[in-house]
Structure formats: structure tokens, C-alpha cells
């Protein structure tokens, strides 16, 4: 039963949609034969390559190809999941039988629903052949240019250049079948000049929309500005957060919008839905169809994802629902469920903020005294209900005085409530696809925020 993914060598192409359909149907037949009432099959395939550089040279350079089949069976109101990357018939049969055996070892699951039937999906086009065709030599050439610039300017460059493609398919014994494929290209660079560093990163489905040289120049220019950092006293400051810094902070809010998290009383939205919680200038939706987003138009059960307005003018209005949480709440499933079984239920994964019109330069010009923040680092939740997060600034913190960047500042630790922060947003830039390191990619604006709480300062 082994399927062949390749037509031009082991690491060249994803399996065809026909291959995936055939594989899923084969496993569904095995499920029926083994006595499952219902069977669901996920197939996830990845072809990824990553070139990593540091000290102005490539030091790691990797590629991977993997395909995982994941089987969930239902019988007598019980379910379990077994995953394998062994694709021969015996191994797939063993996976089906293990799933049934695991399922039978437990009590009946009171909230388990019958699997959904056939669904209709809105199309998204996120597979770009130009990205899929990127070679190790292409990545090496771009890295070489970045490193050459660093050497020329007396700096040290470190970063990554990623190119990859993935596809996901889900099918079940009630006729549901969905597939999605996409590509991604990512370039990230840290430029060091003495003790000073700065950083820039981009991420896109289409490698032609990624400009490694522009990112390199941006990081390089800011690294120069970051030299000779001044130590400032910890205090509340007006901050201008660039989109990556906004993303990495607000990214910690996403799970609070899961209906199951609210039901479990571990969300900061407990007893706060429908009340003014953020500033009236804050509106937020989950929208996988937004042009700045990537991702599949279906969830872990194969349900179509819907656009959901989460916050409207400062008021949290809606949660996202998987099928089980929707039934318990007597709501409609929104297509945000995780693959079952999962005690976490669901989450919005494609956050889109409604931005503003102010550029970062205008934010700086309008600031008497404040800090421009490039990036945040090691963010962790300190208080889950007030959503106090701690973390550090990194790779470029600059003092703004009288409308101008005047000097670099030593990095601060912050302890800041995200809820409070989103009540204190004075200006916003246009929402853009941003990429950081602490949260997944989102569409967020740069923000000028008053009273951001820095509590301690570090040595650099």
C-alpha cells in the first residue's frame, strides 16, 4: 500500500491529491473491516528545508520529508487516535486496530459526537510553485549576500532562510473529505555590531514577496543605532511596539477565545464577555481567508472555518467553537476545533486586528518621551486572569525624545497586563502580516501604547 510521493527524486514533490484520497479511502476501508462504527483519517505531509547561518557563514543546512497518517476510530461512544508514518498495509491495519483497542479501554465519552458528513469549503490558494522550487543553492546565494553585507559593514550576521511546502488532508467514513496545501518562505536575520544587535524577519507563501536583502539592510541599519545603549530606570513608559512585538504579546490571548477555555474557567474572558474590556479602538477577528493569512480552510474534524468577530470596538463579542463545545453551548460550530480527542477543544489560529493609519514614524514624531521596541523575548504568563505577561525587550530598544529617536536603551523586563495594554493604545498603524518567535503569524498593526510597565533592567 506504500504510496509514492515523488516524481523527481525523494525530496522534490508532495504527494498528489489523488494519492492522498486513495490512502485515506484505503484506511477507511481498514477501519470498516476492523469493526469501527466510524473512522477518520488525517494525512499530513511536509517537505521543509532550512538554511541557518551565524558568524557570517552557513553552519547548519537541513531538509526533511515526512508523511504521517493519523487514524481516529469511534465505537460505542468511545474514541482514540493513533498516528504512524509507516505506510505499508500491515502497519496501517495495526494503527486502526490499536485505535480501536485504545478506545475500548476507556469509559464512554459523554460529549463525543458522531463524525460530521460531507462539507463545503471556500477555496484558498496558498501554494506557490516558485517557493516549492527554491533550492539549497538559492538559499545559500541569498545568505551569502546577507553575510557579504555584514562583513562589508563590520557586522556579524546570523539567521535562517526557510523554504517549504506542506499539505494536510482529512477524510472520514461519513463522506467528509478536505485537502489543503501551501508553501512558505521565511527569512530572519540578526545583525550584531559590537554588543549591539538588531533583527528583522519576513514570512510569506510566495518567496517572491520575501526580500532578504531589504531585511538585511533594515537589521543592519538598526544595529548601528543600537550601539552604546544607555541604562534607563524601570518605570511606566509610552512605547511604540513594532508589529512583531505586538504579535508576540497579543498572541498569548488567542487561547482565551476558545469556548472550552471559558467553560473550563481558565480564560481571562470568564465573566467578561459582552463587557467593555479593551479600548474602543480595538477590533479583532479570526479570519483564515484574510489575504495576510496562511492555513487550511477547515479544522481538525474537517469542519469549514468561519470568520468570527472576536472583539468589536473593545467588547469581546464571540468565542470560537468546535463541534462539542458548540453543542454544549447551543451554538453553531465555527470550524476552529482541534483534532480529536482533545481536552482543549478549539482556538482561533488566524487573528486579524483592525489597524489604524499612523505610521511608526508618525508615532515617533508624536512622542515626547517613550521607547521604540523592535522585538520581545521569552514571554510567559504571570497572571492568567489579568493576563499579565512578563518578558524582555531584545535586539533594538530605542529612547524617543521630543519626537525623535535619540539613543539606544538597555533592555528591560516588563510585567504588563495585555488587557490593560489594549486599553491604552493611543495610535495604530495599518495591520500587516507579522512574524515573531513567540506566537504564530498574525495580521497586526504597530501600536503606540501609554503606561507600559517595565520593572527591571538587564546588563546590555
Amino acid at each position: 500500500m506504500t504510496i509514492r510521493a515523488t516524481t523527481k527524486g525523494a525530496l522534490a514533490n508532495l504527494s498528489s491529491e489523488g494519492d492522498l484520497k486513495w490512502l485515506i479511502d484505503s484506511v477507511l476501508r481498514l477501519g470498516k473491516k476492523a469493526g469501527a462504527e466510524d473512522t477518520e483519517v488525517h494525512v499530513d505531509e511536509t517537505l521543509d528545508a532550512l538554511t541557518r547561518f551565524a558568524n557570517n557563514g552557513i553552519h547548519q543546512n537541513v531538509a526533511e520529508h515526512g508523511l504521517v497518517v493519523s487514524v481516529r476510530t469511534e465505537l460505542d461512544g468511545k474514541t482514540s487516535r493513533v498516528s504512524t508514518n509507516k505506510l505499508d498495509e500491515d502497519s496501517l491495519r495495526a494503527a486502526v486496530e490499536s485505535s480501536l483497542s485504545l478506545a475500548q479501554s476507556q469509559p464512554r465519552a459523554p460529549h463525543l459526537l458522531p463524525m460530521p458528513g460531507k462539507q463545503r469549503y471556500r477555496r484558498v490558494q496558498r501554494f506557490v510553485p516558485a517557493t516549492a522550487r527554491v533550492t539549497p543553492a538559492d538559499r545559500a546565494r541569498a545568505v551569502r549576500k546577507a553575510c557579504d553585507l555584514a562583513v562589508k559593514e563590520g557586522k556579524i550576521a546570523a539567521g535562517i532562510f526557510v523554504s517549504g511546502q506542506m499539505q494536510a488532508a482529512v477524510g472520514n467514513s461519513r463522506g467528509l473529505f478536505a485537502t489543503h496545501r501551501q508553501t512558505r518562505a521565511e527569512f530572519s536575520i540578526t545583525m550584531q555590531e559590537g554588543a549591539a544587535t538588531s533583527w528583522a524577519k519576513g514570512n510569506a507563501a510566495d518567496v517572491r514577496n520575501l526580500d532578504p536583502q531589504a531585511l538585511t539592510k533594515r537589521a543592519s541599519g538598526k544595529a548601528k543605532l543600537a550601539a552604546d545603549a544607555t541604562e534607563l530606570p524601570p518605570d511606566k513608559y509610552t512605547v511604540i511596539l513594532e508589529p512583531a512585538a505586538v504579535l508576540d504579546l497579543v498572541g498569548f490571548l488567542f487561547y482565551d477565545f476558545a469556548a472550552t477555555a471559558v467553560e473550563d474557567k481558565r480564560s481571562c474572558l470568564n465573566d467578561r464577555m459582552g463587557k467593555l474590556l479593551f479600548g474602543k479602538n480595538i477590533s479583532l477577528a479570526d479570519d483564515v481567508y484574510h489575504p495576510g493569512q496562511l492555513g487550511a480552510p477547515f479544522d481538525g474534524e474537517g469542519m469549514p472555518r468561519e470568520r468570527v468577530v472576536l472583539v468589536d470596538q473593545g467588547v469581546p463579542r464571540n468565542l470560537v467553537y468546535g463541534r462539542a463545545s458548540a453543542k454544549r453551548a447551543r451554538k453553531k460550530a465555527t470550524g476552529h476545533g482541534f483534532a480529536l480527542p482533545s481536552e482543549y477543544g478549539e482556538a482561533p489560529l488566524n487573528l486579524v486586528f483592525t489597524g489604524g493609519k499612523s505610521s511608526v514614524e508618525e508615532m515617533i514624531a508624536s512622542t515626547d518621551r517613550g521607547l521604540l521596541v523592535t522585538r520581545l523575548w521569552y514571554i510567559r504568563e504571570v497572571d492568567p486572569y489579568e493576563k499579565v505577561m512578563t518578558g524582555m525587550t531584545r535586539d533594538g530598544l530605542f529612547l524617543v525624545e521630543n519626537g525623535k529617536v535619540t539613543t539606544a536603551a538597555r533592555n528591560f523586563r516588563f510585567n504588563q497586563s495585555v488587557l490593560e495594554m489594549l486599553r491604552n493604545v493611543e495610535r495604530m498603524g495599518p495591520a500587516v502580516r507579522a512574524t515573531g518567535e513567540e506566537a504564530f503569524e498574525m495580521v497586526v498593526p504597530a501600536m503606540k501604547i501609554n503606561g507600559f510597565h517595565f520593572t527591571e533592567v538587564t546588563k546590555f
Binding site: G9, A10, L11, L50, T51, N55, N56, G57, I58, H59, Q60, N61, V62, A63, E64, H65, G66, L67, V68, S80, R81, N85, K86, A95, L102, S105, Q106, P107, A109, P110, P136, A137, A140, V143, R144, C147, I156, A158, G159, I189, T197, D264, K265, N270, P341, E343, W377, Y378, V382, D383, T390, M392, D395, N415, E437, T455, E456, T458, K459, F460
Partner: protein, 486 residues
């Protein structure tokens, strides 16, 4: 497996590799969780594949595949060489590897009870019982339990002639009670937070942890925290329980001693380190009672950083990291050892799976036990705060400034544990903190804690690390800053 691994090495050499190694890995994992008295996750995963690392044209290449046929493995090895040659287009210098002997060996981690052979019904019954015990406390609003088991087989082959098979069995378990009241969410965990305790052991670990016994206490404390006093903001004496100290070691000793980080190889992601090469043998890292080792040997214990050989074929070793308070050693590999004057790697290359490149990783980074009895440590502390069980952790990208918060604390007055404190936190600068340590408890109170979720590298790899620690006391520590607004 040896045929496939050997074939990949042959192809790599034919294509021009000066050195090659291959890892065939077979990983099996079982996850069981409950939530509020119902089964949450019940899942099993299996993954097998090969990763081939080659040195060609003086640069590295790595490729991996899960198609374990001779043809696909050959294509994978050829791809690795092609990638290495592309790396050479932008290489900084020729890779130099420290000499290492070839080993032919087979090793299995010790365990008494294979967790995959214990009936699932019994495992679920245990979790549901612990869950029910927590829910007897009615003001608990969420109860969670988990078991995780892994069995990892790896077949390592290298072009210098090593053929090493290792099998590791890993177990983990934990319980959590959460209570939401008013405007606060409080939680307590046992035996540790974020998944509990994990070790290179079989099901006997789960039995030793006795989750059911501790479930009522966990639930009661989660509720009691709501009415506890707020941890004050002050500078004073801090005592850390063993599990929290384990994470403190992880963040403020374990990561900064990674030589790849020190050399700038992680500058874009995980960060660098304040432990620049000039600090070796010159920096006073801590007080004279502070002794830290990196020890992957079985005699150190069955930790998540225990093995017989690392994923570069180097035997497990014990390295002094801090000796009598002085900084003495880094974690190195065959490529970096010579940069600190070593003739040999310290054996710390580890990989998450067949599709990931081995990178320098913590093994078991442990604070050696001191001499104090826990009772005496308490009795000889006039005024302080005892903090236990991690709730949040954060440190800057050079590993100077950290902040931790814990689930619970107790005030110490006149040598006695007094009232409970909620929302505890402490912060500081790494070397100032370790230079304020004036008491460490003895071997009787020492546990090799497992941290199963250490992330590093790009693509990201999650690795388990071990951290032996006993409760210890620190003076003049900043406390309570994280919750300064409370």
C-alpha cells in the same frame, strides 16, 4: 536498520562526503489525560525514519526521510551532500572535528515495568481516581491529570565505524487543580508543574509518585491560595524548593554553558550567552558551596539527560561546570571542543527525532547536594520566603536577568514555616543570584527533576533535560516584583 544506515554512509562517501553519520530512529509515544473526571486525550504515535548528516567541501549538510527503502535512503544521503556543497558557498571556515573512537555497542536504559505493557484500563483508572480525589474539593473549578510514555530506539552509524544501538524508556506523570474565584485563577500541581515529573524510567515512576495520595492536598492548596496573603515586594532571604531550583539551574546555568550559544550560533533565535570564552576558569559564578556538573552517565541517575552515547557517537561523561563556585566548563561537541582547548567533545549532541540535526544540548545539569538537613535550613532562617513549584519563567537572551514566579510560597518567621503566600515571584541577575547562595540541602533531599519541554534550534527541537537539586537558600533576593500591581 544497520543495512540502511550503512548504505546511506556509502552513498554519502561516494558523493564526496569526508565524514557522514546516520541515525535511524523509531519513536513510540502514548499520551493519556483526563479533565474534570473524563478522559481527555488518548493517543498513540509512532514515527520512524533516517537522518543523514554529512561533511562535504568543508561544510555541513543534513537530510532526512521516512521512506526506509534503499533507493529513498540513497536519495536522502545524496541530498545531504548536495546541501553540504551549497553550505560551502557561504561557509565561514572549514569544520574541524575533535577525534573520537569508533564504538560498537548496544545499550538499554534500565526500567522495571514497561509502561507500554501496563493495561490501559489500569492507567486510566489511576488518572480518573486522582482526578476524582481532586474534585472532592468543590471549589476547584478544573482538574487535569496526565501520563506520558515514550520508547525511543536509535541506530547510530558513522563513517569512522561506530555502530551504536540505544533504547530509552521514558515516563512522566502529573496532576493539576485549578480554582477560579473572584478575579483570580490559582493552581497547584504535583509532583511538578507543566506535565509533572519525567524520568528515564518505566511505569515504576508513576507508582512512586503516588498521584492519588497527593491529589487532595493539591486541590486544597489551589483553593486556599485565594485567601492567602499576597507575596510582599521586598529584598530578602529566599528558599527554593527542589523542582523550582531545578528550573533555575536549567535557565541560568544550563543554557548559558551551551558552547554553540556562546559562539553565536544561536544568536538569531535562542540567543547568546554572557559566558564568553574569557570567563572560563576566571568567573566566580557562585559561592564556594555551589558545585554544578553536566552528567549524562547512568550513575548520576535516571534523568532525561541520561544516555550511554550522545547522538554524535561520543560516550556519556561527567563535566564540572561550576566547582567550588568557579566557572569550569561548557557543553561542547566534536566541532567546538577544540575552541576551548579540549581534545575531545564533552558528549552533549542530542536530537529530538530522525528528522532533526543533533545540536548541543543539556544532559543532566545538576547542583550537587550540600550538607543541610531541610529541618535545619528552616530552623536557621529567621525571616524569609519559601517558594515552590514553577508557574512562569523568563530570562534575557544572554541569560543575565531572570524572573520566575511559583505556584505557592510560605512566609518563614523565627525558623518556622508560617502563613501561605500567593502569587510569589523573584528576580535577579544570574551571577549575583548564585553568589548569594549560602545553604544547600543534603543528598537526602535531592531529586533529579525532569524538564521535558526544552525548546532550542531551528527547526525547533524539544528535548528532555535532567536537573538534580535539593532545596537551597539565597540572600538579598528581589521578590514580589512580577505582581507589583497587586
Amino acid at each position: 536498520m544497520w543495512d540502511l544506515a550503512g548504505h546511506s554512509l556509502d552513498v554519502a562517501k561516494l558523493r564526496g562526503a569526508a565524514y557522514a553519520d546516520a541515525r535511524v530512529m523509531h519513536l513510540r509515544q502514548r499520551d493519556l489525560t483526563t479533565k474534570n473526571g473524563e478522559v481527555g486525550t488518548l493517543a498513540q504515535t509512532e514515527s520512524i525514519g533516517i537522518g543523514v548528516r554529512v561533511l562535504a567541501a568543508g561544510a555541513w549538510g543534513f537530510a532526512s526521510t521516512d521512506r526506509l527503502t534503499k533507493e529513498e535512503v540513497a536519495a536522502c544521503a545524496a541530498e545531504a551532500v548536495k546541501i553540504a556543497k551549497a553550505s560551502a558557498m557561504a561557509k565561514q571556515s572549514e569544520v574541524v572535528m575533535a577525534l573520537e573512537d569508533a564504538y560498537v555497542d548496544s545499550w538499554q536504559s534500565p526500567f522495571r515495568k514497561d509502561p507500554f505493557e501496563i493495561p490501559l484500563e489500569a492507567q486510566l483508572e489511576l488518572l480518573l481516581k486522582a482526578d476524582a480525589e481532586m474534585r472532592r474539593e468543590k471549589r476547584v473549578t478544573l482538574t487535569e491529570t496526565d501520563l506520558q510514555f515514550r520508547k525511543i530506539d536509535s541506530w547510530f552509524a558513522s563513517s569512522i565505524g561506530s555502530r551504536i544501538h540505544q533504547r530509552k524508556v521514558i515516563s512522566g506523570c502529573g496532576i493539576v487543580a485549578t480554582s477560579y474565584q473572584g478575579d483570580e485563577i490559582q493552581k497547584r500541581s504535583y509532583p511538578n508543574s507543566f506535565g509533572g515529573q519525567h524520568a528515564l524510567q518505566g511505569y515504576e515512576l508513576v507508582e512512586e509518585m503516588d498521584l492519588v495520595k497527593y491529589a487532595p492536598r493539591v486541590a486544597q492548596e489551589a483553593v486556599a491560595l485565594h485567601s492567602a496573603a499576597q507575596c510582599p515586594r521586598k529584598t530578602g532571604t529566599l528558599i527554593l524548593g527542589g523542582s523550582q531550583l531545578g528550573l533555575q539551574i536549567h535557565e541560568s546555568v544550563g543554557h548559558p554553558i551551551e558552547l554553540d550559544r556562546v559562539l553565536g550560533q544561536e544568536a538569531n533565535f535562542a540567543g547568546t550567552s554572557f559566558l564568553t570564552l574569557d570567563k572560563l576558569n576566571t568567573l566566580k559564578y557562585g559561592t564556594e558551596i555551589v558545585n554544578v556538573v553536566a552528567d549524562a552517565r547512568l550513575e548520576h541517575g535516571t534523568g532525561l539527560g541520561t544516555f550511554a552515547y550522545d547522538d554524535e557517537g561520543v560516550p556519556a561523561q561527567c563535566t564540572d561546570i561550576i566547582k567550588d563556585g568557579q566557572f569550569r566548563g561548557y557543553l561542547s561537541n566534536r566541532e567546538t571542543a577544540h575552541l576551548i582547548g579540549l581534545a575531545r567533545s564533552s558528549g552533549t549532541m542530542r536530537t529530538e527525532s530522525w528528522n532533526r540535526l543533533p545540536i548541543i544540548r543539556m544532559t543532566n545539569i545538576s547542583l550537587k547536594p550540600g550538607t543541610w538537613r531541610e529541618d535545619d535550613l528552616l530552623a536557621y532562617t529567621d525571616d524569609g520566603i519559601w517558594m515552590d513549584t514553577n508557574r512562569s519563567w523568563s530570562i534575557d537572551d544572554r541569560r543575565y536577568q531572570f524572573q520566575f514566579s511559583t505556584e505557592i510560597a510560605w512566609e518563614i518567621k523565627g525558623g518556622k514555616k508560617m502563613r501561605m503566600l500567593k502569587n510569589p515571584s523573584y528576580s535577579g541577575i544570574t551571577t549575583e543570584f548564585w553568589n548569594s547562595c549560602d545553604a544547600i540541602c543534603s543528598k537526602d533531599h535531592w531529586t533529579l527533576w525532569g524538564t521535558p519541554n526544552c525548546g532550542k534550534g531551528q527547526p525547533m527541537q524539544t528535548m528532555g533535560t535532567g536537573h538534580g537539586a535539593a532545596p537551597a537558600r539565597f540572600r538579598n533576593v528581589n521578590m514580589g516584583t512580577a505582581f507589583g500591581n497587586k
